[in-house]
């Protein structure tokens, strides 16, 4: 049975009151919100690093905090693997000593990932002798992740694991996070202000705004709710599709989604044939066509069926099934919906330029 995290806490903060109720047994659960929404604070309450909160925190049947019963387990007895936004490596130690900082507890526990395995999965071998101060931003994040994994955690708390990393490195770190998720299967809470990262990494998400949870559910369902969608970056949602790279040349790549569906990506220099790829495409970048459309430059034309449509301000959120295998969302205008007669069950073509597809991560 999957371990269940139950959080029901209140904590007064300078600008608002953190008042959160979360119950999740997702293997990877996202905590999404803009900066200053209370995400990191909530993570610190769960880790036991923030005093003054009222309420209850329990994980896998263990009560970590219960202010009514006067229970406040110190952080060292909670068994969390905490990875703060800035990595927070011990500056007086080498990468190796940092990674092994929690190894004593891991050994006492017995069940946790073995350090050698973590080092291998995260490609850390050559970094080990380096002092913490001599690591780059991306390397620091990897070492911090390894340190959390090697401490025998029952629950990983990852605060913006991609937050402070420049764009070119994100894809690599994301791949490492996906590998770690796959290899070690430890329940995790990911804090992020990036909906796409949450879509990629999490099975479930809670959206936090001004200290309160305003939506929860699966990432695609939550992020395409009108009230949440309007609040995303550019008011746009990034669909995530997973497939296998079948061709990679000239920095172009072809990804087989299965069921006869393939995607062509214009700019995917690090795609490797045979590996699994996560591809992103913005909902507003998708075009819909009512019938055959010969003579178009768009390289991606996929047959789909409208599941339902929903108004969101001036726009229409169209949920589309691709051959029953994937569900994606396209944003169109109301006149377009009327002109195309978009209603549940309508067969349509989904069009995307190869340049509008992005390779988000490899695994």
């Amino acid at each position: 049975m999957p371990a269940r995290l139950e959080v029901n806490v209140t904590l007064p903060l300078p600008r608002f009151r953190l008042q959160v109720e979360i119950a999740t047994d997702a293997r990877a659960s996202g905590l999404f919100g803009h900066s200053g929404a209370g995400k990191s604070t909530l993570l610190e309450v769960i880790a036991g690093l923030r005093g003054g909160a009222q309420g209850r925190v329990a994980f896998d049947g263990e009560v970590w905090m219960d202010s009514a019963a006067g229970i406040e387990r110190p952080p060292e007895q909670r068994g969390v693997g905490y990875m703060p936004q800035d990595g927070l490596l011990f500056p007086h130690w080498s990468a190796r000593r940092n990674i092994l900082a929690g190894a004593t507890r891991a050994r006492a526990d017995g069940s946790s990932p073995e350090a050698g395995h973590v080092i291998e999965i995260l490609d850390l071998e050559e970094l080990l002798p380096r002092p913490a101060g001599a690591l780059s931003g991306g390397e620091r994040q990897r070492v911090a992740l390894a340190r959390a994994l090697c401490s025998g955690p029952k629950l990983l708390l990852l605060d913006e694991p991609l937050g402070s990393i420049q764009t070119s490195l994100r894809r690599r770190i994301l791949s490492y996070l996906l590998r770690a998720r796959e290899a070690f299967n430890i329940p995790a809470i990911y804090v992020s202000h990036d909906a796409t990262d949450v879509s990629l990494l999490c099975d479930a998400v809670n959206v936090i705004r001004e200290g309160r949870i305003v939506a929860s559910g699966s990432p695609p369902a939550v992020f395409t709710e009108p009230a949440i969608l309007e609040d995303l970056l550019d008011g746009d949602y990034v669909n995530v599709l997973e497939g296998i790279v079948t061709e990679a040349s000239d920095s172009r790549a072809t990804v087989d989604l299965g069921g006869g569906l393939t995607l062509t990506i214009a700019d995917a220099p690090d795609a490797a044939r045979g590996s699994r790829a996560l591809v992103g495409v913005k909902a507003a970048d998708l075009m819909l066509a009512a019938g055959e459309t010969p003579g178009l430059s768009a390289r991606n034309i996929l047959p789909g069926t409208i599941l339902r449509t929903e108004r969101s301000g001036p726009r229409v959120i169209a949920r589309i099934s691709l051959g029953g295998r994937f569900e994606i969302v396209a944003l169109v205008t109301e006149p377009a919906r009327v002109a195309l007669g978009l209603r549940p069950g309508r067969e349509i073509q989904v069009l995307a330029k190869a340049q509008s597809l992005r390779l988000l991560a490899m695994r």
Binding site: L49, E76, P84, P91
Partner: protein, 228 residues
Amino acid sequence: MLSQHSLQALLISVEVALGASLLVLPPGILIGRLLARREFAGKGVVETLVSLPLVLPASAVGYMLLSLFSIDGPLGARNLGFDPGILFTIKGALASAAVMSLPLVARTARVAFEGVDPRLEGMARTLGLGPLATLIRVSLPLAARGLAAAAIMGFSRSLGEFGATVIVAGNIPGRTQTLALAIFSDIQSGRMEDARGLLLITTLLAFAGTYITEMLIRGSSTARRREA
């Protein structure tokens, strides 16, 4: 170059200063840690009490110690049931130097601990390290330069201690007469040659101590800036 009694004063001074700084370091670190990391009722009073010897006349502190260790005093022979042998011995010089240097040591230690990011200590806790292991493996090493500066500060301050020492330990050549006391005695008896020699030595020692302290403190703050 140095007369017999000057050399003796130098040796006694070094012995006293070493002993006093070692004696004062554990409580100094403890108080510094407490003031840097804990909020408690009456913290302001504790801060003031700790700093008091900085501003009180040393002779007043000496008189307090004298009363404390006198035969009928709270820590006197009658109360303890044995003679602690503080008054007019080298132990008295040591106690005076320790009390007088405690404020500097505690304040420097406090600054050293305040320079350690408390989030690093929290991080260590999440990794399964208890409060003591966190202190030993994270806080102390990260504060090490500042704490070394505190120790040297304590040593240097002890070398120069005069007012309390002369009251508690007396000014007995070869037994309790430190550099500071010897300079006083030399001037009183017109032994200007000896006084000048001792002046040179104390200046050199004080310069070295202060210089090293400055370097340690500056080093730890640049290291911190580099991290940030």
